[in-house]
Amino acid sequence: MKRKALTAVFMAALLAMGLTACSSGGGSTDSASESDTIRIGCAIPLTGASAQDGQSIQNGAQIAVDQVNEAGGIDGKQVELVVEDDKGDSSEAATVANLLAEDSTISAVVGHFNSSCTLAGAPIYNQAGVVEISPGSSAAAVTDAGDYTFRVITTDAVQGRYLAEWAVNDLGYQNIAVLYENTDYGLGLAQVLEEAMADLGANIVVQEAYEVGATDYSTVLTKVASSEAEAIIIGGLYNETALIAKQRSSFGLENMQIMGVDAIYSDALIELGGDAANGILLTGYFSDASTSQVAQDFIAAYEEAYGEMPATYAAYGYDAALVILDAIQNVGADRAAIQEYLSTLEGLEGATGINSFDENGDVIKDPMRMTIENGEFVVIE
């Protein structure tokens, strides 16, 4: 009997939770855009392998929202960021996309992070007519995802090619090792590098994949050590880059040059990599050494709010939100109007540079070159 009672209590608790959730979620669905707040969705991974980046994006986007709210909101309305976790899983992303697209108080969405999630959500957003601005999906396929899909990050092709030219033309490397994470992002970048290197006449002597979150790189580094490689280009993120940088010395690769794109830009790279991170070369659009006033204001606000330096994706999250807020300020919170405005947006300065969209909703920006010196990112002029 005791068990039965407990089960009953348990079920009742579930039911109660369900009801509260429904009433809080359901109540707002039909209140259109006439409410006293403007709501922006934020669909990012808060659990799973990319949780850390999702958190950065959320923090960055929140800064943009806070700045607007502190300045009195838009037309006297406060802006609210509605955060949903897509777990970095395309199936969950579709659910979240449905949830946000259906909620008519949501004007536009910052998200998703993983290209697979952006692609899974795209048909839903496009059908519902909601703008999604991806802060992290650089895969080529996102270009064709639809009129309502934008991104503030350039495609892999832009940065990958730029990095390859830097390595081959300016630094004179002829034999390159590419280590990439076995995800949509890593593979996309690896493919771009392969093409670029072939065009530039350089060789990729080692091309190896690793799993996100892997801790042991001895196998791939041993392969690099026994090859002719003069530099390692990483198609992955900061955590793994830091580990690779740190472990390379065990294989006699202390002086091996490591290069990467903006995905490795994060304080975590320096923190985890320690001394081994010094000398890493990377391209990017955002840096705490940036001379842009917008970037500096963002960095200051971020540091104050979260007590740490923003990573690349925080800046992208900020820019994605900034673009949406700019649209709302100019044309109001109407979904279609936002899309129309963004499709011709040009020259909006954000933390990651000047944002303009081409006809596919891809952003056009110029990357800069950076390195790490004495544990700090430095822009190479």
């Binding site: 392998a49 994949a209 979150g213 801790t215 001895s218 196998t219 050590a225 065990s250 294989f251 320690g274």
Partner: protein, 290 residues
């Protein structure tokens, strides 16, 4: 390159072996697979980090404290999630274990955040060069500790009084109880020991790779589980052997065939071995009593 890759494989295998010992011990006693063991390993890492970094203790004090705390976590898991349903369907225990695993992962995320932390133990990694092969003090530590702990465990289980009680419990909880053995205590002890081993593995991984994050237990846990089964679950030398085999096979597979399929080699060898020897390499053949 071959010798170097072999060393790499043995080091990784040693870590798997240490975690696999925990799986094997719990299975030996209760005949259940503690699916949350990978997350106990993760907790061990975080606790190690907590005592050294957050409390600023010297590692000689911090690590035993971490081991004790991890043992406590393991014992609590058994108490709360397994003991009430020990006699129920095996599947119920399995689901409960999966629940514990999800719980621990998310607990770690809440407490320490989702980011990767440095371990900062105060022990520095030193590398030695022997011809074309490089070795670090931690690598040597992993391998030596593995062998030592295996021997200690083997002696404890086979030569001591508590070992006799463990084997009796393993044989039949009911009859062990009748013989006056406090089986609950023996089971708690087993979980404690298994968790300490997981913590040791966690700390070694932490020092060696200098990175800790909440989902790290997943892949180590799976591989170690595979290792325990491969070697013959319930067998202490089997867990060791399985760990080294998995470590070496996946390293060579990744090195010479394709690094993208790294995990597939580990599971592939497991499936192949089980098809030909269903009880694992050193496992005892199970004869159904009729």
């Amino acid at each position: 390159m071959f010798t170097q890759q072999l060393m790499n494989g043995i080091t990784v295998g040693g870590v798997y072996a240490l975690i696999a010992l925990g799986y094997t011990m719990v299975y030996g006693i209760l005949k259940i697979v503690n699916f949350a063991h990978g997350d106990v390993f993760m907790m061990g890492m975080f606790l190690g980090m907590f005592f050294t970094q957050s409390l600023g203790l010297h590692y000689l004090i911090a690590f035993p404290l971490a081991a004790a705390a991890t043992a406590f976590v393991g014992i609590c898991i058994e108490r709360i999630a397994y003991r009430p349903i020990r006699v129920a369907d095996k599947l119920a225990v399995l689901i409960s274990a999966l629940g514990v695993s999800i719980f621990l992962q998310n607990l770690a995320m809440l407490v320490w955040g989702t980011e990767t932390h440095t371990f900062n133990s105060g022990i520095t990694v030193q590398t030695y060069r022997l011809g074309s092969v490089t070795l670090s003090n931690i690598q040597i530590g992993v391998i030596v500790l593995c062998c030592v702990l295996m021997i200690v465990l083997y002696v404890v289980v086979n030569k001591t009084k508590i070992g006799v009680a463990m084997r009796a419990t393993s044989h039949s909880i009911v009859s062990a109880k009748l013989m006056g053995i406090n089986t609950d205590r023996i089971i708690s002890f087993t979980f404690g020991v298994g968790s300490v081993l997981a913590c040791v593995a966690g700390i070694l991984v932490g020092i060696y790779y200098d990175a800790v994050y909440p989902t790290i237990g997943y892949s180590y846990g799976l591989k170690a589980f595979a290792a325990a089964i491969l070697g013959g679950i319930g067998s202490i030398p089997g867990a060791m052997l399985g760990g080294f085999v998995i470590g070496i096979v996946e390293t060579f597979g990744a090195a010479y065939i394709s690094s993208g399929y790294r995990d597939a080699f580990a599971f592939g060898i497991l499936i192949i071995v089980l098809i030909f020897k269903p009880s694992g390499i050193l496992g005892v053949k199970h004869v159904d009593k009729v």
